[in-house]
Each structure stands twice: as C-alpha cells, then as structure tokens.
Amino acid sequence: MSLQGVGVLAAEGAAEIVQVGGWFLSNAWIIPAIPAASFFAILFFGKRLPRGGSELGIIAVGASLVLALCTAGQWISTVNGAHGAAVEPVVNRWTWWVAGGVDFTIGTLVDGLAVALLFVVTAISLLVHVYSTDYVAGDVRYTHFFAFLSLFTASMLFFVLAENTIQMIVGWELVGVCSFVLIGHWWEEKPNSDAALKAFLTNRVGDIGLLVGVSVLFFAAGGTFSILEINTRALDGEIGHTLLLISALCLLAAVISKSGQFFLHTWLPDAMAGPTPVSALIHAATMVVAGVYLVARLYGVFFEGMVIAGSSINALALIGGLTTLVGASLAFVQNDIKRVLAYSTISQLGYMVMALGVGAWTAAIFHLFTHAFFKACLFLGSGSVSHAVHSFDMKKDMGGLRRHMPHTYRTFLIASLALAGLPPLAGFWSKDEILAGTGGWGVFGGTGGNGAYTAMLVMGMLTAALTAAYMTRCVYLTFFGRYRGHGHPHESGRRITVPLWILAVFAVGAGWTNLPKGFQIVPKSWTEQFGHYVEPVAAEHFYFPVIAHATPSWTLAIVSILVVLVGGGLAFAYYALVDRRAAAGGSATELADGPTSRWGAARLGHTLLVQKYYLDHLYTGIVAKGTAGPVARGAYWFNQHGIDEVVNQAGRKALAAGHVVYDKIDQKVIDGVVNTTGVASHGAGEELRRMQTGKVQQYAGVMFVASVILAAALILVL
C-alpha cells in the first residue's frame, strides 16, 4: 500500500478552517489495529496462555484506551488552539484498490465525534473485559469469547474511524458478524442460535438500505466515498434534493435495523440470549450505537435530505419518537431483567435518533455518551444479579436482593436514577438537552431549535414518565420485597463490582461534561464543554451543517423533573401497595385486582404489549417463515416442475438424440481413452448401456430435427 496523501480536503474557506496534525491524531489507525491483532493472537495462541487469552484482550483494549485518551487530549488542545474557528478533521488516506476508474481508499477520520466514541468504546470495552474474566470463567469457549470481544471492539473502532462510506460498511458488517458470534455464544441451545440468526438477518435487512444508500451517495456526490466530501457537497447544494432524500431514507433503513428502531427492533431483546457482558457491550458502546453514529457522521446528508431545519416533522424524528414510546411501553411487561433493559435501550436509542431528527446533534451524541455508561452499568449489574441467583426472571427468582448484594444494588440504583433522568445524574442533562432541542416548547418559554417539533417533545415527555415508572418496577422487583429464588445469593467478586462502581461514577458525573449554558450555578467555562469539543464549528464549504442551538429553559427542566417524579412515584405507590398486600399473603409481584384484571381495555393493552405489538409474529411467523416456507418451496416447486420439467421433457426426447452424439463420442472415447482405463470404462459403459432407450426411430427423429435446427441456424444467421 502506498501512502497517497495526508489530511487533504480542499478548504476554500481556509481562513476560517484550522488544519491540525499531531501524532496521535494522524496515527489513529493503531487504535483499532491493536485489538484486531489481539483477536488473531488470542485465536491462535490464547489456549496456551495461563489465563486463556483474556489477559491479551485486556492489555490490547487497555492500550487502545490509553491511545484514545491521548488522541482525545491532542484533539482538545487543538480545539483550544483554534480559538473558536472551525477545525479541520484529521484525515489520513491511502489507496486501497482501484478498479474501473473508481478509487477505494482506506484511512482514518478523526474529529471530536470520533474521539468521543473512541473513548466510550474503549472504556466500556475494557470494563466489560475485566468483568467477563469473572462472569464467563470456566466457560467451554472462554478463549473464543475473548477473541471475539477483541474483534468486536476492533470492528467498532474501525467503524468509528472510518474515513469513507466503504469503510463504514466494512465496520458495520464486521460488528454485525461479531454480534452474531457472541449472541450465539452458547449455540448448543437452539433459542440462542435462533436469536443470533435473527439479529444478523434483521441487520442484513437494513444493510440493503446501507448498500443502496452508499451506492446512491457515491454517484450523487460525483464519485467519492469520502464522508467529508459527501457531507460538504450535500451541504453546498451540489447534490439534488431528491437523491439526498432517497439516500437518507435508505440509510435510515440501515439505522432502523442496526440501532433497533421501531419496527425492526425485535432482534434486540432476543439478543439477550448472549452472555450478559456481550449485551452490555452491544447496548452501550458497540453495536447499536453504530446506527446513531452513522446518522451523526453523514449528518450533512440527513440534514439536507430530511430538511431538518425549519420543519416540524421528518422521518428520522418520527421513527425516533415512536421508538422511544414503543420501547418504553414494552419494557413494562417484561419479567426478564435483561429484556427490560433491552427495551429501555431501544427507547433510549429512540431518543438519540429523535434528537438527530430534530437537529439537536450535540444532544444526541451527548446522550449516547452518558447512556453508554449507565446502561453498561445496568447490564453488568443485572449480570451480577443473575450470577447470584442463576436466573434472569425478576418475578420468580429475585426480590429483596438489596440486603444480599449491596454493591450491585447501589450501583444499579444509581444507574437507574440516571436513566430515569433525575438531576444531577448523567441522564438528566442529556435527556433535557434533547427535549429542549425539539424546539417544540413554546409553552415553556425559551428560544432556538431547528424547528417546532412539538410532537417529538410530547413523545419525549411521555417516555420520560414511562422510563421512570418501569425502572422503578425493575428495581423494586429485583431488590425490594422478599427473596423469591432458591439458595442464598451473595455479592459478586471484585472483578465484577469494581467495574460496576467505575461505571456508576460515570453515570453520575458524565452529565457534568455538558452542563447547559444557562446553568448559572457553575462558572461559565464549565458549561457545554462536551459540545465545544465534539460539535464541529460550522464554516463555509464545510462538512457540518449550520445547526441552531436551543437555549435551555428552567421551566422545561422543572416540568420534566416533575414528569419523572410522577411516573416513578406512581409505580412506587403501586408496588408499595403490592408490598402491603404481600405482607398479608398476596402475590409479591403484582396486584390481584390490578387494572388489567378490572378493565378490558387495560387487559387488551397488556396483551398487546406482552405480544410485543405482534411484530415478532409478523416477522418470524409471516415474513421469515413465509419466505423460507411457501415462497421458497413454491419457487423450488416451480423449479422442479416448471423449468426442470420442460428440461426433462425435452431431455427425454433429447436423451435419444444425445445417443447419436454419445454413440460417436462413446465409440471414440472408449476406444481412445476409457477402454484402457479398465474399471472406469467398464462402469461408464455400464452406465451408457442403460441410457439407451432402444427406439431407433426416436433417435432418427431427433437427429433429423436437430440437424434441421442447426441448418436453420446457419441459414438464418449467415
């Protein structure tokens, strides 16, 4: 591979755009390369190492984390040095291959967004690695597990650093295949491999959109895969709006499947079949945020294609908004603790996509950032719980665990509160910023935003209440009441609790990196730090659109806090009642005369939720079974009885015709070659003899017809 060029993007507005360099920034390729190398190392030598290869994985990801931190530091100092001017992303690009006049390049693109993700991915991955050494200890495929954790991390880092859309596809698919392997880690059980298949196939459905979208963008942008150029051209109006809309919609399909957005989210809860650390990694840092990252990366395309500025609804925001509600409502009826968290992830990803859809780019990335920590904490916490009770069923096997597992309980509670969005925990700040970003809050005062997305605000608020309520339910069922499982649960070891505490600290503090501007309690220089370093400053001919920023409003913040309190409070009140009844001998998990038993409508709603809006039936029962069943069988039937029958019918006559041919070739070949090959020719002769139909006249007829056709062909053509 030859080094073609370093950091070149034609910068017309050079006066305003600062070009930067720096060893870590321009050598960022090392960050994914280390875990990739460790994948091969673990795969080939892992079993011979004293700790089965896990130490290699931890060292590799740790090294990546250090490098990511160094990169981040260098980026921060660069931005500081730019004094508010737009900073050119650091691009390194090599020619990968060339064919038919199309250059495929490979390289890295480092900017604030990439740096933020690098940190999140490596940090979470490291903690998950450490956690896994305890969690999957003794597993039959311990080494493989760590090998693929490494590859998973490497793929995601590769995706994050992608310089062009082709690389994004590569990273995207590699992430998908790693998730397939890891979800299906315990493939002996059919449900697990089913879940893995479902995850991969659902993602493949979205990949249609990705492949088509990237192709359309490539040609629309005048033959380039470069993310920066595509964005720049989209924003400069060089690409027609229709093409942008088409490609944005295609890419949205990819996002919907990858990030578990509404109507293709069904694979995500099933993916809980994988080991818990994998779930944490998928949900917090690697797999599902890829979709969000894709939108954020190609934001120019989406911004122009979806006309985000100045409208009040668009596909991105609508899908995101619906997803928040669907996810949150489904989280209510789950008994499996990991499934509650899975649906909560769906709902939170909906927030992010919605934020991107309404133009609150920074808020979306900020939420991605904070969510990664508290969701990882929640997943690892649930894993710790299941480690103790050997089950994931909250109703049957949990309850009252706060006394047995104090560390898990405390971290889980902190993360839950962060997820619910109570100040001053991380979730509050990011969620609030999204709600503000909808711009649909005229009633609450305040200005800014890219449009009046009132519907999105309402959905966001509703979800906030639901989130608080279902997390209350989850925490209650797991840690309060009396213990309903078997045996004596006990707290997990240090390799599990230490990561939990680290994550809990982040779940508290991550939100403080981007305090809103109007938050007068702290010095002004402390506010909006995250946005300052991550969000590119817009400039002429630049890859990032000019987006409006909403000014936060106290009213909105207070209303959202109230909504959360009401939601959580109602749930708490319900379970307090349950508790009292349980003391009197009732069920410890639900009211005997709850709303579902009293109102038909509620029961109907409950059934609808338990059946997951029947989407799974639609996909698995109708689409997948239909394709693999009747449609495929039909096609095959057609093949055997349609096309092949024609062939066979022709063949029956032609067999005889073939004879004339055979007799000639047969004679020559048997005399020439096969006679001397002994048994072979005997076998062949045996075969050939049986091919004779014996009807001389049939041979003759076919011979006549065949020769006439040949003659006709010659006559007609010549």
Binding site: Q692, G694, K695, Q697, A700, F704
Partner: protein, 99 residues
C-alpha cells in the same frame, strides 16, 4: 429448366422419406423410405452437376446407387435375422438396446 424445380422436388421427396422413416413400423417399409431419401439426394447431385457443368455429380450419384444397393442388402439381411428370431419385423418391438 430451372435448377430449383429439381431441388424442390428433391426436397419434397426427402421430406416424404423422412416421414416414412419416422412413421413406419415395418422394417421393410422403413428401408424403402430410406431408398426414397437416397434418391432425393441423387436428384440433387445430378442437378447440381448439370448446373455447374461437372461430371462429378453423376459420379457421386453412381456411388450412392452402389452404396444404396449394399445398404439394402445388409438391411434386409438384418431384418431376416430379426424375423427369424422374433417372428416380426416391427421395429417398435426391437428395443433390445434399451438400457
């Protein structure tokens, strides 16, 4: 005379011969139809020979007559043998070669 009138006649006879070869079950009749085909070819040869004023066409026709005689001889001998063994010259029954 047009060359074509001979050629077309020959084509018609040839086609009739083809029909005979395919439609007849009696071996003797099939052999007769083959004679028809051969004669059609002979007409062609002689006609072309005249057309290009060459003697070769006739010589070839003579050869074909000879070969046809030989063919009939051997063909009828085979039919005799067939008849002797099966008491029939029905070709549709003679499918010993069937695998």
């Amino acid at each position: 005379m047009l060359l074509n009138q001979f050629l077309i006649l020959s084509a018609v006879l040839f086609a009739i011969g083809v029909y005979g070869v395919l439609a007849r079950r009696n071996g003797v009749l099939v052999l007769m139809s083959i004679e028809l085909i051969l004669n059609a070819v002979n007409i062609n040869l002689v006609a072309f020979g005249s057309y290009v004023s060459s003697i070769s066409g006739e010589v070839f026709a003579l050869f074909i007559i000879t070969v046809a005689a030989a063919e009939v001889g051997v063909g009828l001998a085979i039919l005799l043998l067939l008849y002797r063994n099966r008491q029939s010259v029905d070709l549709s029954e003679a499918d010993l070669m069937k695998g």
